[in-house]
């Protein structure tokens, strides 16, 4: 890692942020989905509280779909608007992957924060172990950003993106959802101290998953990036 590499990653990150601030496509799409999920849940469970497992499940559905709507577009939009060749000519694949992955990571963390606030404010969510909830959110964000960025990067250049994305996403996302729901269920609780270690293990698993996806991603991406 050197200053030139960091400057390249920052250039990609800045481009993504500036383009999003001007188009606001992902923010509006993911924001609308998050708000609608909470509104639907509030109406369905008016004056009632869900079980911790119920909250964990619905929260993860909202976070997952917000991520799936917004994140893969960072790569597919380059192919759709024809700017991928410009990047191929000027950038190294690792810098492109990392710039977009960091941008996606920030997006997922912001979505997780917004969903947490919305769920607490409008869906009667109360959190028993706030620090575990925070760790689970950080881990979930890292894992989701890693998995979805990797998926988006690999399928962006494929002719039949939809089918390939579904095929790739299923084995990548199922263990992630399992870990994420397990960690959130304990954090939302209360479930007793004997469950806390399970929640911690699931959160650590999420962080490790995210690190693994982000570590493997650049190498897989570099293999499919250069030549079409």
């Amino acid at each position: 890692m050197n200053s030139s590499w960091l400057a390249e990653v920052f250039a990609v990150l800045r481009k993504e942020a500036v383009a999003e601030m001007r188009s606001r496509t992902a923010i509006f799409t993911a924001g609308l989905f998050s708000i609608m999920t909470v509104v639907a849940m509030s109406i369905a469970t008016y004056n009632e509280k869900l079980s911790p497992s119920g909250y964990a499940g619905v929260f993860w559905v909202a976070l997952l779909f917000s991520a799936l709507i917004a994140l893969p577009r960072t790569f597919t939009i380059e192919e759709e608007q024809g700017t991928s060749d410009l990047l191929r000519l000027t950038a190294r694949p690792h810098a492109v992957f990392w710039g977009k992955a960091i941008y996606n990571l920030i997006q997922v963390w912001l979505a997780a924060l917004a969903l947490s606030v919305l769920f607490c404010a409008f869906a009667h969510l109360s959190i028993s172990i706030p620090w575990l909830f925070a760790v689970a959110m950080i881990g979930s964000g890292a894992a989701l950003a890693g998995a979805v960025t990797l998926c988006g990067a690999l399928v962006a250049q494929a002719a039949n993106r939809g089918a390939l994305a579904a095929t790739l996403a299923l084995p990548l996302l199922v263990p992630l959802i399992w870990l994420g729901v397990a960690a959130l269920r304990v954090a939302i609780g209360p479930m007793g101290p004997e469950f806390t270690s399970g929640g911690i293990q699931a959160s650590i698993g999420l962080v490790c998953y995210g690190i693994a996806a982000l570590a493997i991603g650049p190498y897989l991406f570099a293999a499919v990036w250069k030549n079409s």
């Binding site: 030139s4 400057a7 390249e8 920052f10 250039a11 990609v12 800045r14 481009k15 500036v18 383009a19 001007r22 188009s23 608007q81 024809g82 700017t83 060749d85 410009l86 990047l87 191929r88 000519l89 000027t90 950038a91 190294r92 810098a95 250069k226 030549n227 079409s228």
Partner: protein, 193 residues
């Protein structure tokens, strides 16, 4: 400087071109000619490394390809939500070379449009910006695909200046059907349709 040996590109069972071998030395300018669909753009993309060859090899100058080889093509798209200056800043940062934003915008005559988004400028202005981005790192090999398309008289003069300047530090590969641009050639390659 550029050595192409037995190069071929096939889509399915159809060969777009095959058995191409040539060398270009520093100071030379190769103009690729051919009818629409003859494979001029694909050949240039293959030389630039944007498309993989079906057979044969391409040798480019040693070094970081982002700095040694540059492309300006009619097909190359720009970011709709970035300004002209931001494009030059981005490509400079990605290549690890100075952005030269003001100098290049002045050179292509678009200083007044520096903060306009690329959705707000004409096709000719986009072509000028692509030229500026291509020469930003002072490459050894400059690949131009239909560089004069959409350009006015002053824009075409700009292409002539860019090609002349490029030949003092490296070589140019240029695909065109324009008789004026054909005059820029020191070598010609005619692709059969």
């Amino acid at each position: 400087m550029v050595r192409v040996d037995n190069l071929g590109k096939r889509y399915g069972s159809r060969w777009l071109f095959r058995g191409l071998s040539f060398e270009i030395e520093s100071g030379e300018s190769l103009v690729v000619l051919g009818q629409n669909g003859a494979g001029k753009s694909t050949l240039l993309k293959t030389l630039a490394g944007l498309v993989s060859a079906s057979e044969g090899t391409v040798e480019m100058p040693e070094g970081d390809r982002r700095l040694t080889v540059a492309v300006s093509a009619i097909e190359l798209s720009l970011y709709p939500h970035l300004s002209l200056r931001e494009h030059l800043t981005l490509t400079g940062a990605l290549r690890g070379c100075p952005g030269r934003e003001e100098e290049l915008l002045d050179f292509i005559g678009l200083t007044h449009a520096r903060d306009l988004m690329t959705t707000q400028i004409s096709t000719g202005m986009k072509a000028r910006l692509k030229l500026a981005m291509a020469i930003q790192a002072r490459p050894l090999v400059l690949i131009l695909d239909e560089p004069g398309a959409g350009l006015d008289e002053a824009g075409r003069e700009l292409v002539v200046r860019v090609v002349a300047e490029q030949r003092t530090r490296g070589c140019v590969l240029l695909a065109t059907n324009d008789p004026l641009e054909r005059r820029l050639a020191s070598l010609e390659l005619q692709l059969a349709s």
